[in-house]
């Protein structure tokens, strides 16, 4: 018989899995990488502040912003069946660890609905026009990009203070405590696959970013081409929207009046969450 040789040995778990980020280790981590980032932030801060001044007119509607792109989503709650495929697809695309989910599906019962009937709703980061998270960051690690409005985190600058988590009214930000799924914690072939996030190709490693950083949805920014465009046909499209079983998640450019998302906003009645805060989210819900 032609028996195959063992091609792979999955090793036994390390004596102490590289998962807990103790308080002491967090402080050490901040001292080693945070100090440099803090210093850097002081230098670059001026430029970032300038960008913040340039808030764009017309942001309260989905009209053009003058930016190259204004990316956003329109989520049809009638089509969402609460399956959570989006949550898992996002995990695979961005390789987020336990406790970090760039999108979640709300499925709790609402008080005013009979029979504890749940309302399903997927909830990514809203990439607000006036993102409260950006304003509170002491090191300008989180910014709203001038070219497309995507709110990003620079892991090399983030000191993990988590002010932004408190500031975000939508609970869209997560702290990476350094936990790992078993397939990553134990040396398997998969644990060596780098994350594509921000095109930085980081292999998850104890003591290295993004462990100890705040993390959030990026609209799968790493799938943009060099010009900042997405392309659905070649799969360069946010992972949640690509897998949605109800086809409930629409993604696109609000600056383009002919985009699918712009058309949906014209045709259907849309709401945004916590409008009263003036954050002006770029994610709309169809009811």
């Amino acid at each position: 018989m032609n028996e195959r040789p063992d091609t792979l040995e999955m090793q036994e778990p390390p004596a102490r899995p590289a998962r807990e980020l103790t308080r002491r280790r967090l402080v050490e981590h901040l001292v080693t990488i945070g100090a440099g980032a803090l210093a850097a932030a002081m230098g670059a801060g001026a430029a970032v502040a300038q960008e913040r001044e340039g808030r764009l007119p017309g942001a309260h509607t989905a009209a053009s912003t003058g930016r190259k792109y204004r990316y956003g989503m329109v989520i049809d709650t009638r089509r969402c069946v609460g399956c959570k495929a989006c949550v898992v697809a996002c995990k695979a695309e961005n390789r987020t660890p336990p406790g970090v989910a760039y999108t979640v599906v709300l499925d709790e019962a609402l008080e005013n609905r009979p029979n504890d009937k749940p309302l399903f709703m997927t909830k990514p980061c809203f990439h607000c026009e006036y993102p409260p998270c950006v304003d509170v960051c002491p090191v300008a690690a989180t910014t709203k990009r001038s070219q497309d409005g995507i709110v990003v985190v620079d892991y090399d600058r983030c000191i993990g203070c988590r002010y932004c988590i408190t500031a975000c009214p939508y609970g869209s930000r997560y702290f990476d405590f350094g936990e790992n799924y078993p397939a990553v914690a134990w040396p398997t072939p998969y644990s060596q696959v780098p994350s594509l996030e921000y095109g930085q190709f980081r292999v998850r490693e104890e003591g290295r970013s993004p462990i100890g950083n705040v993390r959030k949805c990026t609209f799968c920014i790493h799938l943009q081409d060099q010009n900042g465009a997405y392309d659905r046909a070649s799969g360069r499209w946010p992972a949640c929207a690509k897998t949605c079983t109800g086809h409930a998640i629409f993604f696109g450019n609000f600056n383009d009046p002919e985009s699918e998302v712009s058309r949906l906003l014209r045709q259907r009645q849309a709401i945004r969450l916590k409008e009263e805060l003036g954050t002006n989210p770029n994610v709309y819900y169809l009811l």
Binding site: R79, N115, K117, R208, T245
Partner: protein, 833 residues
Amino acid sequence: MYVFDERIGRRRFLKVAGAAAAGAGLAGCARSPSDGRAAASAAEAVQWGREAGKWVPSCCNMCGGQSGILVHVVNGTVDKIEPNHWNPNNYANISSDFFDGYTEEYGCKEGGAICPRGNAGIMQLYDPDRLKRPLKRTNPDRTPGADPRWQEMSWEGALGEIAGKLRALRDAGEAHKLLWMSEDHSFTHIQTDFCNLFGTPNYAVHSNLCDVARKASLKCVVGDERPLADFGQSRYILLFGWNPTAAIKWAYLPRILTRAMEKGARLVVVDPYLSDTAAKAHEWVPIRPATDGALALAMGHIIIRDRLYDQEFVRDWTVGFEEYAAYVEDKTPAWAEEITTVPAKTIERLAREVATTKPACIDVWSGPGHHTNGVQGGRAIAALAALVGGYDRPGTLILPDKKGDKHIEVEPDAAAGKTLEHPRFDELDRYPLGHKSGVYCQMFANLAEGKGPYQPRMLVCVFQNPMMSVPGTASVAKALSKLETVVVIDTMMSETAMMADYVLPGTVYLERYDLNSHWVTWPALGLRQPVVQPIFGQLAEYETITALGRRLDLREKSGKPFFHVGPLSGQPVEDLTAWYEEYLSQELKEGAPKITLAELKALPGAVWVDRKGTQYEKYASPVPEDKLATAWFNGDPQAEGTTIYDKPKDQHGKQIGTVIRGKPLRGFFTPSGKVEIVSRWLAEKKDAQGHTINPLPIYTPREWQPSPDYPLYLVNWKEASHTHTRTQNNAWLLDLKPDNPVIIHPDTAARLGISDGDQVWVESPYGKVKARAKLSRRMHPEVVGLQHGFGHTALGRQANGRGTSDAQLRPTKADPLSGQSLNKECCVRVHRA
């Protein structure tokens, strides 16, 4: 390279950062990965990322749905699974929907979808708890919980010993004393061949734990085991105990259902639990478990009373209407209200709505099916669909034209032929509406109690976990302990594997082949292929079977050494994988696609789709001339009702039509050729308990009713987050659903003094399990419920100890008509722990 912000610019940022760090004199900056990473990212983009590696089209097997996938493999590692846009299973079950906007370059217009489990296949493949090497038990004590004292073996050694046990059976003329059970979608043909050549009639598969009650009901009424709901074109959808947007078997289900509602269809879900599908519905109709048939009969009563039925369809295409009408004359809404708890007024309204909104789609799945009155209840629902003309027309239940690979049956040698004459150990013949998948419950009950036609000696169990999935864990354990040899092939150390003598590591679907004839309404076949080599160097299951077949030198009647000779070439093929590739090529060549395996691989998405598409009202079409020329008539070819077969009945002829109104029409594949509201042939049969069967779809209460000691019904169900009992070690899926609290209505809980979050005992005469209580008005007040699949004591470190198993609370008992396991027939008491 990634640019954080075009205005600030990466380079400038780095310069500033470097200067600042240098000024501060901090060595820490050197540890910052930014500089090195930025420079390296261009190179890494070539090595990793979407353009690196390859995208391999295949089919999912995280559940039995087999939807299409595209798997990204980089440097030999799977890092992403995405939907396969060329596979209709991911998009639509009706061809016009699928082909509208379809292109060869992209596939279906909006792109396909895959469910959470499909996305989580990576965690299944790289689960550190997977079985890696063959194991042999050294502790003879096979009571649950005993340490098996596993000893690792080489593949050579394990196959040698297992083949030795098999050979001993066969040499003693006791080949029939081998029981073999497997999953129902993967490599079933090769296992059938092995069992036939070896000489055991005892091959059984998973289906009888699933939907054989529905299969039996619909086979009786419309002559097709699995009609498929065309939600997309429907205006009114009435579902009895089906949860398609959460028990997502085929990835197209959520899309076609929500799209139907978008176009104006009304969705009504009848279920004791407000399922996730009911949460999307316009109306949830809470019902007492196992009374769906009574509701359907009362609706039939109103539809006939008010002459709302489809008179033309009933006249031309049904039999037994008059008898049925007489039977339902006293099945009033008030009668049904007593039984079902559904208000009579609601029943009146639903009946009128479903009969006057066209087209209406009425369907039933396993909710009502897993009870002792499930088949008759299913027939009552199927009869209701007949009243509104709800078959094989757009927007109704379509009879699928399912064609794909062809299983070429083997001819066993004389020795095997002799042992094959023994009856099946699971007594399938006693079940008048039994399914070829067998009767797991009867098999395990017989074993445990020492009953049945003979005493089996050996079991091979492939990717099945009866200790968790078959009702009555205690008797399954007892049954397993009575066997001389138990071999389990699985990817995980399941509870059943813990009871085995030999455990062979199996393959995850990303490591192996399969052909999947898809459950859409026109012919389509998708390929599953190894996207990575088996990661522990293990054999794929079909290779294990072939290797055993070679060791046993199993031969066909002609003397041909079946497992040595390439099925297409007729030449000896040494390599196990190459031999199976030829086997699959032959099935494709002789099946509907008429292409080789290599040609199938080259098709867009590795899926073959027949362009002729969905055909409607097939029942009214004539039997094609060419088929008629070679047909065999079961009686006078001119006489009304004569059944037409493709070849003589005693040569396994299949029904292809019936003489109707003087013409050879396809009709329905029932004895009358029509929709059988009354199945007269059933009157001549007895069920497995020896009772006569009523040819009418009558309502009788199920056997096990609540009592003062066990006053609550217990039901179970599935959700999108997990498959059966096999995904509870998948870390991503556990994030979605970590356990299964017992759901109790707040009024019921208040009466029992139970608060949300309390630990409670759920107790039946057969067992007692602990669960966390969750209070919700989603549950009927007379019912409590547990999502099926949790409560593992093995499987892996993540699964072990999570949630509650419901299998322990039931007896190992099958429905006497179909052999369906009774997964929902249970009454319990619940009290605080």
